[in-house]
Amino acid sequence: MSSAEQWTHPEPREGPAATAAAPTAEQVIAGLRATSEGGPELVQLLTPEGERVENPEFDRYVADVTAEDLRSLYRDMVLVRRADREGNALQRQGQLGIWVPLLGQEAAQIGAGRALRATDMVFPSYREHGVAWCRDISPKDVLGIFRGTDHGSWDSQAKRFHPYTIVIGNQVLNAAGYAMGQRFEGRVGDDDGEATMVFFGDGATSQGDVHEGFVWAAVYDAPLVFFCQNNQWAISEPTERQSRLPLYQRARGYGFPGVRVDGNDVLASLAVSRWALDECRHGNGPVLIEAFTYRMDAHTTTDDPTRYRHSDELEAWKLKDPIERVRVNLVRHGDADQDFFDSVQAEADALAADLREFCFTMPQPPTEQIFNHVYAEASPYLDAQRDEFLAYHANFTGGEH
């Protein structure tokens, strides 16, 4: 029903709406043109072939990155990809209700995540498993969201990593407010300044909350880095459905700088994020980063990308894989041997096995969790509703419900 061949025959058809809504050949070509090249403004330090290219503006932000650091970034990416693939598999096996894959976006997230300091604050969307990893949050703490046991079990204040936000764009305003608070408290203005980074996607850039977040952060000079992962697809809609011009260029209209970085280049993502955070620490925020990347898997496990995008596009992006270019670079410079790659792979497999084991043994949440924590202060009415239901529930103990 949804083969790529259909798209090359855009005659009007009868049939189900989903099929009839398949893109025309012109749309497919426009999409390919828009998504295959990041354009001349793209900041890239590692080519897809693993070659380090000079960039006079951003080289200095990664001048201190050693071979060991690069191996560490490689390890991060391999581990989060492995955990992501395990999450996907667990959903396919019925252990998770849904999974949101990050496949292909490892470099964007690890680069940004490793640029952050412990004192910085992060507001994620719901695909930021890689950034969570950088905040010392185990993939286990993310799993409950998708198994349906909780809405995220990490301590968002201690980790300075806000809960995942599922309503598209809401977190951008929340982050703007938080960053305003950092400024009001005088935590901005020197090397030790604080900053906030907020993550959202290309689809979110159409939301009013994101535009309002741009306005608020700008007029209050908030130390906020807007980190937009443009993965080219908002479920089935290409970026051309969200914008006429490259997303990073929107920043100019709001009065702050915007940069497009190769989101599949972990070194470039690290450099540009460090630069942006540095600007914010010193009171020169906000800053918009557009990480030009690609969602290699579906939007979620409920999605079927074969209905709306051409397999050629996926194949083209495979050549720009974020992990492979680092591996090639390490090998080419003799900075890592096979033992290193094998040990990282073994570590990744162990992480996945541990995650799987954890998933199987996650307890059913207690019934009273429905009622607890709705309010910070006492709520006699809700307490009574809870007690009534628990008493009703207790009638069935040991029997059929």
Binding site: F123, D150, H151, G152, S153, D155, S156, Q157, H162, P163, T165, V167, N170, V172, L173, N174, A175, A176, G177, Y178, A179, M180, G181, Q182, F184, E185, G208, D209, E212, G213, V215, W216, V219, Q369, N372, H373, V374, Y375, A376, E377, S379, P380, Y381, L382
Partner: protein, 342 residues
Amino acid sequence: MAAPVINKPGAATSTVQSLTLGKALNLGLRAAMEADPKVLVMGEDVGKLGGVFRITDGLQKDFGEHRVLDTPLAESGIIGTAVGLAVRGFRPVCEIQFDGFIFPGFDQIVSQVAKLHARTLGRVKVPLVIRVPFGGGIGAVEHHSESPESYFAHTAGLKVVSCSNAVDAYWMIQQAIQCDDPVLFFEPKRYYHSGFMKAEVDTEATPEPLFASRVVRQGSTATLVAYGPSVKVAVDAATAAEEDGHSLEVIDLRSLSPLDLAPVFESVRRTGRLVVVSEAPAEASLTSEIAARVQQECFYSLEAPVLRVTGFDTPYPPAKLEEEFLPDLDRVLDAVDRSLAW
């Protein structure tokens, strides 16, 4: 920061002042800002102008631009950034300019403000207050006279209150700001500056709890329940009914979520008759909720069905028709008569 202009213990002046509802809110906000440096006031025109109703008059002058924020003109932005400020440890008080303009912020209120505490299993509190001038009777254009409180009472995680007089205005705004839960604070804008609503406010008194209803007039024939601007209508109706020999009890709900209905149940068990008054449309509303709970708790005491006097299930009408739309003394008395004749 300039010296605050409220009475202190030991000061030569009395701690009792005759205040309009609007001025009482202003002094209550001022007291809250003095008590806690984390309290911020934010909204459209709340700074230099003092708000379109002047409720925040003078606050920016005395507390500065970082504590009284003239925000960009977007309600989702006001609420959404207030959430972030609350997460950071501030206690923002947002002003929504008019009831009908709260809806651009509805998503943030329902999706983030209301749910963040539960989502984090209690790890993150959202102690913010959203002030909403509400209700009709001011001869305004569309979107300036609405009563949207039921939307928020329907949403778990929010608390909703409404003051009906100057004394409550002074205390309830301070208590709402101290509350660790998000509070929607509905203010009867029609009475902000009404001289006849002036009351003696003792700034050293011990206030009643925030989430409690209050019997404002005792009676035995029937019970009237109201809140916000409708309390005055109910009290006026009770005064008029007295001439006909009917003794009506009037209860001011004050808190709309949670509802404190114990005094209502107690009253209805004595009177057997209940009329609920509200400017909001009746369908699927707070008045429906009250009727449902009263029939559940007072089934054998009721001598007549619970009756409601409300705005109609229509969009708020043009101003020349609003006095027909709004509950008034005659419609309340008519409902009382119907209840008594049942």
